[in-house]
């Protein structure tokens, strides 16, 4: 593994920035650097899966990655990264304004090369439907913290079905109050127990 990927995996913030500058200075293509960072994020996800890392460390890795991507942004303008692992629409359903969990998923997905359409919080069903239709994403993720949102999750699923998009998109539900019973109630295709599980489901769908 590249030492930049390793530094990100090991959450060595300073080192990530130093190595990033070194690579940029040495003329390494930005696209190549992004690919290396993705490797590091995938390694972070693996450590989370094996309980070596906790949510706090996912959040910290996400912050390090965000800063690195910000630095790379101007260098990526116009470049065809050829990296997109697929498109994912995601949002916290209507009635709920919490986004800690959703944001972790977004960063993990972006860190693994997905193109994420993040609709934010308190997102009405029609907005999910429109985003799925416009983006052609094969996955939509519904997030929530509060347990009174079960009917709203179901409503989003039904709206997607009603819009004739069911064959085109898989629906994942996740968040604190969600479990397999809740998935069954909503009619969603998958229940993601945590952020890394959600990312893995996205990879499966696009595999």
């Amino acid at each position: 593994m590249d030492e930049l990927a390793e530094a990100l995996r090991d959450l060595e913030e300073e080192k990530v920035h130093q190595l990033l500058e070194k690579k940029i200075g040495a003329g390494v293509a930005a696209v190549e650097i992004v690919r290396t960072l993705n490797e590091g994020m995938i390694a972070v996800g693996e450590r989370f899966s094996t309980c070596e890392y906790f949510i706090s460390q996912l959040i910290f890795s996400a912050e390090i990655l965000k800063a690195a991507m910000k630095r790379l942004e101007p260098l990526l303008v116009g470049a065809d990264t050829g990296l997109s692992a697929g498109k994912v629409v995601i949002g916290t359903v209507k009635g709920d304004i919490h986004d800690i969990g959703k944001n972790i998923v977004v960063t993990l997905l972006r860190g693994s090369g997905f193109e994420v359409i993040d609709l934010g919080v308190d997102v009405p069903a029609e907005k999910f439907v429109a985003a799925v239709r416009e983006s052609g994403a094969k996955v939509v993720g519904l997030s929530a913290l509060l347990n009174f949102t079960y009917p709203e999750m179901k409503n989003v699923v039904e709206s997607i079905v009603g819009a004739g998009l069911k064959e085109k998109v898989r629906i994942i539900v996740g968040g604190t109050p969600v479990n397999e019973d809740v998935r069954a109630f909503t009619g969603a295709d998958y229940y993601a127990e945590d952020a890394v599980a959600g990312m893995k489901i996205c990879k499966e769908i696009y595999a």
Partner: protein, 454 residues
Amino acid sequence: MSEEMQKLFDERLGRYQAAIALEPTDRIPVAPGSNYFAETYGGNTNQETIYDPDKWLQGELAFAGAFPEFDVLRDNRIYGPLFDAVDLKTYKLPGRDLSPRDQFQFAESEYMLVDEYDILIHSPMEFLFDRWLPRILGEFGERGSMRSYVAFLKGGMAYMQAGQIMRNRAMVLQDRAGMPQPMAGFFLAPFDVLADAMRGLTGTLMDCYRQPDKVVAACDVLVDEMANLALATADPLKRWPVFVPTHKATFMSPQEFDRFYWPSFRKVLEIVIGAGHTVRAYLEGDWGRHWHHMLELPKGKVLCDIDNEGDIFKAKREIGHHQCLAGGVQDSNLILGSPEKVREQVKYLCETVGKDGGFIVSGGCNVPYTAKPENVRAMAEAVMEYGRYDKSVKPLPRPAPHGAIHASSFPRMVTPWSVKKAEVGGVMGDEDLIGKPWETLESMAYVWLWQWVL
């Protein structure tokens, strides 16, 4: 209170207290901390719950009548007009920012900047007045303006109103339904003070990596502040526990928890317990890697609410012999399940976690707003059927335990009487008649200033 209600009240309170103390009871108590379901049981909206005390009380009386198996019924800590008087930014309220039937929600943001630790550490009150309060209280935003003075005046009066409403409600529930409280008063773990209403979760976690010593020092400074808040708002008769909702521990690694969260939290808990109180700690999320620390505190003093994601069976094995546990009935089961399914779950809990006492039946951390009434009924009935111990055991409410309070630290105030007395050069008559009310009002004002952390 009628004799009948007094008897009911004593039975319920005695049962609740004995369970917390890990002592024998006649049956497993049905004693959720937060009972959202009851708040709107009268058909009132969530907005009415927090804005119309009478409608809310009627709803709760209806609940108490329909569900006499419940042993406690919590008051509602939010009084909308108080939040409005100061334009509190940390909450979204039903009917104001959300639909009238939505649940109130906490709105986290960065209300303390990354470079403000030193001022918090070295001068907490200056930090409060100059930095933090103007950001979270919209009406105090322009300090020194006419509106900012009126905001404090209104806020103080609304606080007294809220206290009156809560007291009245507790008395009515006690007199007419024989219903005790599950808890009174509140505080936070110092780390949560930072991570909830000051720096936010992401900010605080970044600080743990980037300026760890400052985070530890800030938590240490907040120990006395949180202990003061707890002692000032607790039930003076010490009948029921003081409430501490924990929020951010679930996100932390054991190493982070041990360094940043636990040491200061433990100090606050020790002060509150040392003063003769019990504590009800809502362990939000999964505390599986952290809750072994509860063994370090005196036995039977911290009632631990195990959340939906926590494994209550694991908790029973690891800490159940030392602290009482509450929870076990999954929120999703109460909302989506059937009475049969709820009954089955409660039966299993009674036979396992509740087998030898030290267990209180509750939802994950509350009874959800959208629980099906027939499922709540099934929960209560299943406890009556499967949660009995020895009928002859009748624990009585216990007298308030004595405790030691560090007189030099509490109660805290901005201007103690001694300072004022020195300024005016003494008084002519009985000093206590002047100094004591002075300090009572000072300490109330101090609590008012710190209550916004929650």
